[in-house]
Amino acid sequence: MSFGQLPYDVAHLFGGAMLLLSFMLLYQRRVTAVINGLAIQGAILACAAGWQGWVQGAPQLYLTALIALAAKAVLIPLALRVLIRRLAMDRTVDTAMGIGPSLIAGVALVALAILVVLPITAGVRAIAREDLALALSVVLLGMLMMITRRNAILQVVGLMSMENGLILAAVGVAGMPLVVELSTAALVMVVLVVAGVFVFQIRERFDSVDVSLLDPHRGEGR
């Protein structure tokens, strides 16, 4: 395939949408809105996976799409909302790096991702190359979110959007063995479970989920 053809455009569209949503996640000032964004990203991921499955004629990708839809678009956001309600935490995002700077940093990261991906994979089929660039950007943005947001929920969200990027890459690469989707799904489940456990335990012990409050407990008392 080459530029200007439908499958490429659609896949590119989905990828671009996910990247856009990553920026939205960075941009939002309210936790609930962030979770919504995460849900939408999950949904788009599901669509992308489905589309790839149709394009590549790979039925296992439908399964991926299903899992993504169920877990990322529905269940996890719900769980997070519940979490927020139960912890009665403030609904505003408190940032370590201001919204504006983090957006600029995000743009820089996207530029880096494209810089790294575009020139080097000329030999590989275009569909994978574009998606790889986008997925890489999504991953980096998710990580950026993890380090620029203070409270634990948002860090989990960042982790989640990283996973979304991963799966975008996975589905983008034609013929990726199934093992990877399974493991990714398993990872996401485990991630969320364990993270939930931790957030609860932390909640029990401290009045906030601000991770930096844990540091005084480092065993080496001064």
Binding site: L112, A113, I120, L140, M143, I147, V211, S212, D215
Partner: protein, 674 residues
């Protein structure tokens, strides 16, 4: 012969295990030290047989070695190693004998002792770099355990810590040195290394690393800070071994690396660093020996001085060989080897004497001893022999090797380069000064310990040590005399070692019973000198006694009118005879102030004030303030900075990972872009 050597080493290992097994059993000490005595004698016998009857050609491959195929450890015995093995055997035998007689120490000090001997033997007999380093570090580790044996006192722990750190430094310098050698050669065994001598910057790096590594273990200035701490901390027989044998093993490594493995073609300037380091060590050590107030510390400092002498000799060998002056190289090599052996023997003797004094008179402090010659005549005699040798007085052993060394130095001008000539002249002056300083230090030590009046009640109750211990003192004393009388014979024995150091064509600088130098123009005939001395002594005695027959009367001390001691001070007021600080005063004022930063504080009471005046003197080793303290400060500041990285929150840590990733990606983009 090599199998015999291997057997001895294995037996030592078994002894260590047995010592662990026996634990607190009353016979444990006798078993271990008796075994060590036998095995040390075995070492000496093997070495003598090798030097006299011929050395084994092919090395012996051991079932151990570096991980990785075809890297078996090799044992071999050439002239050099045999000579030092002889030294090890003799000193080890004396030390073990003393340990047999001396009161038993704590059981934890038993197992490391055989391992210490084994480590030195392995290091000496090794024929490949790994085995050599293995023995070297084993020696360090075992002796660390011995230094730390009495770890209740904080200063012993500090000494042990510093000791092991310097040992690690030595290892960390020697391994890369061998690595640089091995770069050109195929393997790590000595034959391969010899085949490919280093050149250019590699050679220079090897020289620097070897000097730093071996010097740190041998106690060369400025890496000597551990020595005056570690030697006194260990039990006496161990300090004897450390001082007599271990430092020599370090020098053996130095000689092996620079004179044997680096090949004969190195330039003459290679001698200069050794010359400088050796001369400085000699001066500093001898001067400090004049300031110290503890017998064992004093002896340790004198060890630094003698190590300096040997290093100077080795440097001369390098220089002469580089300038194609074969006979002179042989002369210097003879000086180095002979002085190594002589110092090994008499320093062992002196440390054992210090131990016997501590055992018999209950102290090591010069200011708490005195007049022991009456209570401990045998010990005093042995000490006198040892100290006369250490003061390099003819006709004892110290003088013979010193004579060779000075002759070699006096011939230093034959290396054409004027820069080297000046260095050699300066080294001559420093060595001579160090010798005189050593004489002063030994006089001070002997005079304060054995002569004069008793300085403490405990010393008044001193008694001679038991027979076995006395024997262990008289043995090295006798050896010192013999080595002094027959140095030429010893040099004949050392011919293979000299051939290793100074080239296969080199002949030992001896003719018949005489030491010779400068194409035989100058000679030293120890037997003749001794004979003349004895003869004239007897004659004078005879004549004088014939002329004046009266027996000697005894009376009170005169001293320009000396008050009789008050009843409560039966030996007179201790303060009215010179003490350790007082004896050191002239040299402290003449040299100490400038070289050791020595200071004095005198408190004079106002007239009519009955309280006694007060005098205090202290000297500080410059290597503390100049080298170790800054390093420690640097370490702490860097560590403090490193800690900041640890204060990060989880987000910060994640940021680190993220930064690494982004950095690597950027790097990648850059690498592929350009």
């Amino acid at each position: 012969m090599l199998t015999g050597l291997l057997l001895c080493i294995l037996l030592l290992g078994l002894l260590a295990l047995a010592a662990v097994g026996l634990g607190r059993h009353p016979l444990a000490g006798r078993v271990v030290h008796g075994g060590c005595l036998a095995i040390s004698l075995g070492f000496a016998g093997l070495a003598l047989a090798g030097l006299g009857l011929g050395l084994p050609e092919a090395p012996l491959a051991l079932p151990i070695g570096l991980p990785g195929a075809g890297a078996a450890s090799l044992l071999a015995l050439d002239g050099l190693s045999a000579w030092f093995l002889l030294l090890l055997g003799v000193t080890g035998a004396c030390a073990s004998l003393y340990a047999l007689g001396a009161p038993a120490g704590p059981p934890r000090s038993l197992p490391p002792f055989p391992l210490f001997l084994a480590g030195m033997a392995i290091c000496l007999a090794a024929a490949d770099a790994f085995t050599l380093l293995l023995g070297f570090e084993l020696m360090s580790l075992a002796s660390w355990a011995l230094v730390a044996a009495d770890h209740a006192e904080a200063e012993n722990r500090a000494a042990a810590r510093r000791y092991l750190m310097f040992a690690a430094l030595a290892g960390a310098c020697l391994v890369p040195a061998f690595g640089l050698l091995a770069a050109g050669a195929g393997g790590l065994d000595f034959t391969a290394l010899r085949a490919a001598p280093p050149e250019g910057w590699r050679a220079a790096a090897v020289l620097a690393l070897a000097l730093a590594g071996a010097g740190a273990k041998a106690g060369l200035v400025p890496l000597h800070a551990w020595l005056p701490l570690a030697h006194p901390a260990a039990p006496s027989h161990v300090s004897a071994l450390m001082s007599g044998a271990m430092t020599k093993v370090a020098l053996y490594v130095l000689a092996r690396l620079l004179l044997d493995l680096c090949g004969p073609l190195q330039p003459a300037w290679w001698g200069v660093p050794l010359l400088a380091a050796g001369a400085c060590s000699a001066l500093f050590g001898a001067l400090r020996a004049n300031m110290e107030g503890d017998t064992k510390v004093l002896l340790a400092c004198s060890t630094i001085e003698n190590i300096g002498f040997i290093t100077v000799a080795l440097g001369l060998v390098l220089a002469f060989r580089g300038a194609d002056l074969g006979p002179l190289a042989a002369l210097a090599a003879g000086a180095a080897l002979l002085h190594a052996l002589n110092h090994g023997v008499f320093k062992t003797l002196l440390f054992l004497v210090a131990g016997a004094v501590a055992h018999g008179a209950g102290s090591r402090k010069l200011d708490r001893l005195g007049g022991l010659i009456h209570a401990m005549p045998v010990t005093a005699l042995a000490a006198l022999v040892g100290m006369a040798a250490a003061a390099s007085l003819p006709p004892l052993s110290g003088f013979a090797s010193e004579w060779l060394l000075l002759e070699a130095l006096l011939a230093g001008w034959r290396v054409g380069d004027i820069g080297f000539q000046v260095v050699a002249a300066a080294a001559t002056a420093l060595v001579a000064m160090a010798a005189a300083l050593a004489a002063a230090a030994m006089l001070r030590c002997f005079g304060l310990v054995f002569l004069g009046r008793i300085r403490s009640p405990r010393a008044a109750g001193a008694e001679e040590v038991p027979r076995l211990e006395r024997l262990s003192l008289l043995l090295p004393a006798g050896l010192t005399v013999l080595l002094g009388l027959f140095p030429a014979a010893m040099l004949g024995l050392a011919a293979p070692a000299i051939a290793v150091l100074a080239g296969p064509a080199a002949l030992p600088p001896a003719r018949g019973l005489a030491l010779t130098a400068g194409e035989g123009a100058s000679t030293y005939l120890p037997l003749a000198v001794a004979g003349l001395l004895v003869a004239s002594l007897v004659t004078v005695w005879f004549l004088v006694r014939r002329r004046s027959t009266g027996a000697t009367l005894r009376g009170p001390v005169w001293n320009c009118g000396f008050i009789d001691p008050p009843p409560w001070l039966p030996f007179g007021d201790p303060l009215s005879q010179p003490g350790a600080a007082g004896m050191a005063q002239p040299l402290r004022r003449m040299l100490g102030g400038s070289l050791l930063g020595a200071t004095e504080t005198v408190l004079m009471r106002a007239p009519g004030d009955p309280r006694p005046g007060h005098y205090a003197a202290q000297a500080a080793d410059p290597s503390e303030a100049g080298l170790l303290a800054p390093l420690a400060r640097l370490r702490d500041s860097v560590a403090g900075r490193a800690e900041r990285l640890r204060e990060l929150t989880i987000r910060g840590c994640l940021g680190l990972s993220f930064g690494t990733l982004v950095g690597l990606l950027a790097l990648l983009a850059w690498l592929e872009g350009g």
